[in-house]
């Protein structure tokens, strides 16, 4: 880093080195960008991450298997449910445990609600970064309801720790189903209003369309996942294409960026894919609530989780894209290695190569549109 700064000093006067972060309103956490600007136009934005590194992978080697579950909440605290699920699936693979159907349905419901909550934050902060604060508060208002629901389900609003190895911790509370359906009825109409309020606002479109275009090949090459990948026109969703849990039983569409307002893969596409995904999640939750099987909510798992030596890799479709866990066991009670591969991490890697030629204001749109969450980058 010092080397970089020194190099900049040489041509001082022509260019300006801007420390965009770590404390900056729109870096979505503690991230620093070394922005090399020529006036308003950027030469390059170099991400400097690690401010939120909490060595979770190292911690995973010292807590037992069940004990790491609350830590997964902290990997991506905006969408903690997926981190729970991914880790649980990986350990279940190691243990060769079959998850009861009801637990799988509960996982799907909780995850899709969590996806709605996460995308609301993402789209809301995006609007706020573009300068419209009202949509953010509207999004957070809806998210509060989702949080209330998840709180009633698992006792926490953010760090759910709901999934367990072999199932989930709690069954549905009384009256919860009706509350969810009532919320979804409201939410579906709210999304229509949301589109009219901000999505199709002409200033908003002008700010996002044709900005920070990531082509399909680039997206694949850089390992972008989830809505960022789909925003670039790649029709891929782990839930549909590498199905896990209860997802094969649900009918849903996978929204893909079509360049409706500009080029395929621009910031607007990535944003709009998220809006559409919220609608799909709402559909999935409805289907899941309808077809919910009866039965156990957790498989019989020994209290001392001690899988045989081996390694397992699990992939789930998190709100920020594919989240993969790579858990290696050496036959003891503690994992030999827990590795979380997160969507934000690889998404950050592309910023440096996309940024040249963008304006400073576009950097904000780019960061918001790839929806990075600092703890998920740093883990």
């Amino acid at each position: 880093m010092e080397k970089l700064i020194l190099r900049r000093v040489d041509n001082a006067g022509e260019e300006m080195l801007l420390n965009f972060g770590p404390q900056h309103p729109s870096t979505h956490g503690v991230i620093n960008f070394l922005v090399d600007t020529d006036g308003e136009v950027m030469k390059k934005a170099i991400p400097d991450i690690g401010y939120l590194h909490r060595a979770l992978e190292k911690i995973g080697e010292s807590t037992g298997y069940p004990g790491f579950m609350p830590y997964t909440d902290r990997i991506d605290y905006v969408a903690a449910m997926f981190a729970n699920e991914g880790y649980a699936i990986a350990v279940e693979k190691l243990l060769k445990v079959e998850v009861p159907p009801r637990a799988q349905w509960l996982r799907a419901i909780s995850c899709e609600l969590c996806r709605i909550a996460s995308h609301l934050v993402s789209t809301g902060t995006m609007a706020s970064d573009i300068g419209a604060t009202t949509p953010l508060v509207h999004a957070l208002r809806e998210r509060e309801t989702v949080n209330d629901l998840l709180e009633a389900l698992c006792g926490a609003r953010l760090t759910y720790n709901y999934h367990r190895i072999g199932g989930v911790a709690f069954d549905l509370p009384e009256g919860w189903r009706d509350r969810v359906l009532k919320f979804l009825d409201h939410f579906d109409t709210m999304l229509v209003e949301w589109d009219r309020l901000i999505t199709f606002n002409s200033i908003y479109i002008k700010r996002l369309a044709n900005v920070a275009v990531i082509t399909k090949t680039q997206a694949i090459d850089y390992g972008l996942v989830g809505p960022n990948l789909r925003g670039s026109g790649m029709d891929w969703d782990v839930r549909r294409d590498v199905p896990y849990g209860a997802y094969p039983h649900f009918k849903f569409e996978v929204p893909v960026g079509r360049g409706s307002r500009g080029t395929v893969g621009d910031a607007f596409d990535r944003y709009y894919v998220r809006v559409l995904e919220m609608m799909e999640s709402s559909k999935i939750v409805r289907q899941a609530l309808e077809s919910m099987p009866e039965g156990e909510i957790i498989a019989k798992v020994p209290r001392k989780v001690k899988p045989e030596a081996g390694e397992a890799f699990s992939r789930v479709e998190s709100a920020r894209g594919e989240m993969a866990y790579y858990v290696v066991s050496d036959g003891t009670e503690k994992a030999y290695r827990v590795r979380a591969r997160t969507g934000s991490f690889t998404a950050m890697g592309i910023i440096e190569d996309i940024s040249p030629g963008l304006m400073v204001a576009d950097l904000v749109a780019l960061i918001a549109s790839i929806d990075v969450v600092a703890p998920e980058i740093d883990r």
């Binding site: 807590t63 004990g67 579950m69 609350p70 709180e151 720790n161 709690f170 309020l197 209290r303």
Partner: protein, 271 residues
């Protein structure tokens, strides 16, 4: 900027007018809808803790009256924020007493993993969450009095429920007994000899009454198995009308809201 056609030029204008028309009408309409926020905390209908769902994971509470001293919670805690010490009662060698049951609420991450293995439901999350303290040391709640240790609870065979104090009452009493700006306890200066021992800290200390611990482990697991067979505590407490204070206090593994004797509506908050 690419070249614009005439249609694009005028299209921009009409699009702007249209989208502003919609956007402005929506924001205006919100002036006529009800805000969802409430003025916290003095204008809420109920005290906030009573509006939280029964599963809410707030401060941990231990009811020493029904604690079996099995240390399952201590083992389950991923961050070792619980420390339990068992000793033989000097007067009655058969009786074991808990001389230390400390929970570092400042370190606790409210994950709920300690609640699940508890055979009697002695350790539970409450809906208490307001406990700011000037000194972080004051956030270590001591459930056993070292001067006056409590004996472990013997689970009667075939016990259906355990007489737990109303959930939240104990922790609330503890929190209310201490001013928020009370000074924390003075710790001893660091022990130079302890540096080598420290990494093993809590475990080494806990392992002292080793024989007793091994003996204890067995019955505890039996009880745990029994506890798993019955429906989880949650379903029960959710069934009880959640409004009455301590409804969620229905102890773990109680098939009916049985220990209602302890559910005393009058002993909640005055509001």
């Amino acid at each position: 900027m690419p070249k614009e056609t005439v249609e694009q030029y005028f299209g921009n204008v009409t699009e702007t007018v249209q989208s502003f028309w919609h956007g402005l009408s929506i924001t205006l309409s919100y002036l006529l809808r009800r805000p969802i926020t409430t003025q916290y905390p003095d204008r809420t209908e109920l005290p906030v803790r009573d509006m939280l769902p029964p599963r809410y994971r707030g401060f941990l509470e231990v009811d020493p009256d029904i604690c079996t001293g099995c240390q399952a919670c201590e083992r389950a805690c991923p961050i070792s924020c619980i420390q339990i010490n068992l000793e033989k009662d000097s007067a009655n060698p058969k009786l074991r007493v808990v001389t230390q049951f400390d929970i570092d609420e400042a370190k606790c991450m409210f994950c709920g993993l300690c609640v699940e293995p508890c055979p009697t439901g002695a350790i539970q999350h409450t809906r208490e969450f307001e406990g700011s303290q000037r000194s972080v040391r004051n956030l270590t709640l001591r459930w056993a009095d070292p001067e006056n240790p409590f004996p472990v609870y013997k689970v009667a065979k075939g016990a259906e429920y355990y007489p737990r104090a109303p959930l939240g009452s104990l922790v609330r009493a503890k929190l209310e007994a201490r001013r928020w700006d009370a000074p924390g306890p003075e710790f001893l200066p660091p022990d130079p000899t302890a540096t080598a021992k420290k990494p093993a800290g809590p475990k080494a200390a806990a392992a002292k009454p080793a024989p007793a611990k091994v003996a204890e482990a067995k019955p505890a697991e039996v009880v745990q198995a029994a506890a798993q067979a019955v429906p989880p505590a949650e379903a029960v407490s959710a069934a009880v009308p959640a409004k009455a204070d301590g409804a969620s206090a229905a102890p773990a593994a109680a098939p009916a809201p049985a220990p209602a004797s302890t559910v005393n509506p009058g002993d909640g908050q005055p509001a």
